[in-house]
Point group: C2
Chain length 258, copies 2
């Protein structure tokens, strides 16, 4: 079976999320439809490293394209990329890179060793004119240094039940957070968050809680106590999806290294 | 007469440009309509430092709002900003800052001592999914270092006839370019261009020509010869408006310094 890894960029604004759902268009569905002409007109299956929610964007999602009915001799990584981008029009989804996968055990979800997210807050009185669907607009001044310091207490292995969506289907609430930096660049507050994997809504729930520390609604040392309570009600609200970007996936061997 | 300076951000995509025109909505018209409730329901006049073209964006345009029919006692800079932003909805135009102007001779167009533009090229094979109306997408690899070096020959005072739109109404083709830097950040090529003032389409015509140097269609030392020919036909095509941002205007005394 011919298999390609795909590195994807997309605007999640008008999608129900990565995964196919009955209630609207998904990234997965658009990609599978665009790939049908490459697979003898049969929609193939495409699996992703991270199943992003409705409104969440990606600049470095990684997916696996299986082409059981394709003629492998005619398919190079470059023709896959260009043909998919042609058929993906006019949807705001593009294949940045494609790479032939020869290891039969490689899978974007299970082979990923790190996932990297960015979250962008626009922190100023005026609403965004250029980035309306790309940021969380927070009018109240936020102390980004305080938010960064507080976020460091989430690093390492913890029970993240307090930051987990009630609908989360993961077996364990234990996750290991490897990086959480928050910096200010003029009116933008940019968070970079890395872990092997995340619980459902974990990034947005952590950001929503850190915002309450940034505007002094919560004490700066609240996070260890919130973790210890192991209750979703102990943490802050879920930050909106508009500011969230799945920016990169790491694998032990980078499929796109050429 | 009550007068306020406004610092503006806007998405130029769906506008005919700054200036009022019969063939579609303009930034000026939207602002003047939004300001009518502050001026006893009469649309006031708003003049800008730079009359951006259709599709061109701004992150730091400066305009002057005249309110001949307003009650000045009720108007602070903050109420002007917030009221305009309220009435500007849902247009992608916002007032970042407002400042009371007391100097009767201050005018955004004539008092400006420098205008700063940014131009962003997305240089990669795949079309943009997140920045479609915010960049010029160029698939051919461009040598940004070569483009930067070539751009330096445009600095200083020159006759810019070769880079001037045929419709340009300026009295003189002489302009003094103070800064032209071009840097690459991953797949983005970012140009920063500063001058006291520019001819019509000057930035886009310079970028369109530098692109031909970047992809080796033109020799790296072409620009002095193109300047010397004083003919629009000697230079390259006009770069699209999507990548252009009016980013800042300088004044001898910053009206927004508080």
């Amino acid at each position: 079976m011919t298999r390609f890894a795909l590195k994807l960029e997309y605007d999640g604004t008008h999608f129900v999320g990565w995964q196919r759902q009955a209630n609207g268009p998904s990234i997965q569905q658009c990609l599978e439809q665009a790939a049908a002409p490459l697979n003898n007109q049969t929609e193939p299956t495409i699996a992703a490293a991270g199943r992003t929610d409705a409104g969440v964007h990606a600049t470095g999602q990684v997916a696996l394209l299986l082409l059981p009915d394709a003629n492998p001799a005619r398919l190079t990584a470059r023709t896959i990329r260009d043909a998919l981008n042609y058929h993906l029009q006019p949807h705001p989804i593009v294949v940045l890179e494609a790479a032939l996968i020869t290891d039969p055990d490689w899978h974007p979800r299970f082979s990923a060793i790190a996932r990297h997210y960015r979250y962008i807050i626009l922190n100023r009185p005026a609403r965004p004119a250029l980035e309306a669907t790309r940021v969380w607009h927070v009018k109240t001044p936020l102390d980004a240094t305080l938010m960064h310091q507080a976020a460091q207490s989430l690093l390492g292995k913890h029970d993240f039940t307090s930051f987990r969506a009630t609908a989360c289907q993961a077996n364990s609430p234990l996750r290991t957070l490897d990086r959480f930096t928050i910096t200010r660049e003029d009116n933008h507050i940019i968070a970079t968050i890395s872990a092997r994997s995340f619980l459902h809504h974990q990034v947005r729930n952590m950001i929503g809680t850190l915002k309450l520390i940034g505007d002094h609604s919560l004490p700066a040392d609240s996070l260890p106590k919130i973790l210890a309570q192991k209750s979703r009600a102990a943490a802050g609200p879920t930050a909106p999806p508009t500011g969230l970007f799945l920016s990169a996936i790491d694998f032990r061997a980078d499929p796109f290294a050429s």
